[in-house]
Symmetry: C2
Subunit: 379 residues, 2 copies
Amino acid sequence: MSGAPGAGAPPPAATVGPVRVVGTGLLGASVGLALRGLGVDVVLHDPSRVTVLLARDLGAGRLPEPGDPAPALVVVAAPPDVTGDVVAAELAAHPDAVVTDVASVKGAVLDILRAAGADLTRYVGSHPMAGSERSGPTAARPDLFVGRPWVVVGTEASRPEAVLAVRSLATDLGATPVTLDARRHDEAVAVVSHVPQVVSSLVAARLRDADPAALDLAGQGLRDVTRIAAGDPGLWTAILAANAGAVLPALRAVRAELDDVVGALEQAAAGHGSHAWPDGALGTLAATIAAGNAGVARIPGKHGGARRDYDVVTVLIPDRPGELARLLTEMGAVGINLEELGLEHAPSQPVGLASISVLPGLGGTLEAELVSRGWRVAG
Amino acid sequence: MSGAPGAGAPPPAATVGPVRVVGTGLLGASVGLALRGLGVDVVLHDPSRVTVLLARDLGAGRLPEPGDPAPALVVVAAPPDVTGDVVAAELAAHPDAVVTDVASVKGAVLDILRAAGADLTRYVGSHPMAGSERSGPTAARPDLFVGRPWVVVGTEASRPEAVLAVRSLATDLGATPVTLDARRHDEAVAVVSHVPQVVSSLVAARLRDADPAALDLAGQGLRDVTRIAAGDPGLWTAILAANAGAVLPALRAVRAELDDVVGALEQAAAGHGSHAWPDGALGTLAATIAAGNAGVARIPGKHGGARRDYDVVTVLIPDRPGELARLLTEMGAVGINLEELGLEHAPSQPVGLASISVLPGLGGTLEAELVSRGWRVAG
């Protein structure tokens, strides 16, 4: 009960409670866990009795009690297709509270709030860029948001103290607040998240009926392109439908360029073997790949800086416990820092391939040091 | 000069030399390095004098000399668009040699050989599933092919000893030979490599003119989907044009499903905010994502076995040398083997996120052990 900070005392939170969390799945329960760790009073609600009790038992907060003070902040962490209605109901039920939500689409929520005549002075949307392949309160983590961007979406109607409350929530949870309006947010996630999801799914769908021999030839490129194709159909249907307005132009642009590629390949197939390439077909193919080069070069690298061209050294790792740790320990002894690491298992062989990225110019030194220590370096 | 095996003596090679390597870039020089390591006589040729001298100086083989014995095996490692012509010339110039090539497209090479009236009894195509983001002889590695599938593409005309010579080459280089005919090979690589390349490039191309704020929201999903979009335009133009016949049907299927998604999103956008969803639109979106789920589940996992659903534990790693090695060492002490490892740097924070995949059921134990040792575990 001492007010003095000391070992085990939580760092001070800017967020003022009670905080009401509505929807105690992965995101809501993670918000609750993080706020509880900061000593903030968290009250949990979920339409599923099991889900809310599970979140409580995991330490994400407490159940409401008669005589509770009114919440200062409401965090709606509902599925995207019901978020608008839930936010409107919370704004009406708690007339002094700031209300935010964590849905990955923001314009559709605002449309519903405007149609419902909700009090937009107290609503500020959120989109924490965090998640997990798992869902539900059992997957929740107090550190889920640490180091992630947290988009804060106010409107002209938002009161400054409401915006500040949501930015403080993001900061308390270890995230980096990013201010965008709903349209810019929705267009941004269409390009960096929703279109990649659709396209990854379309590529993966081609594998359903593929020759088993084709699957045996799958390399890291296919694995990378299709990893997110394992996403949840229900969740993604709700997201894509809610952001249809922003996803459509980007997806139509993909289709237009795909049409160009198909057209060029039709010309190439017609000229096949004849060495008589039609004018322009090869240029279209090269332009498509070059445009991709230019786009991927814009993705920020480590710590938000420009993407680096790391030196990559690929090392064969015997498939035994401790071998990778030993490799990295020896790298440390050489004094070379690891920038990125990829692991790949060689098909049908008891050996893994570790791709070690180091700062440009250090690859040769690292390779020589590793080889001198008995490691096998591959291409 | 002793014939007795001993320390430093190369393991016996099944490949009989001299082997003539035509094209001494990444793949050709890697073949040379590996064969030299096995004691096989390798003679190098490349239209570029600098490239061939560089490959020689790196140890990939020697230059031809007057009075050289005829090659027993010729390996053509030329760009895909000239491979057919070079193979035809080599078959004619070396009437007793088996000739193979390493181009990533096989039907187009055969078409050119048939049109040229080449001696197909001595030709067996290859496609080693190996490569590097780098190119040229300086990127060559004797271990480039270790643990990789090596597709061996004979025809009805191929003599059994020619097929055996190429299978032996693959085995000598540490690869796993996979027998396919040209059509199955080309359809397989269209689905697992060429279509993913085109689609990755199209997604990355959307980033060229994207809002800088959108790039700041880029997560691991976008990075994964677009990684191969950094591929070389010239090489990929040659590959796509040469395999147009197999890429087209797969790309048309992608386009047909993309049309369905665009149509569903147009319906969803029209019904936006009204809660009046048109019949079927949501079902189309969900079916697209579900089809991707089914496809990605067919990609083989570690050691060619079925893909596992690993437990994934995400750990925050301070961005200092040695921290990841310490983490893996402590995992080893706990007795839990690492199955897969991903590294991600948190934007604008001096911390990395390591995604540690372990066998199903071990995630909870690992997490508890790591937390008890002071590691921060995230979602």
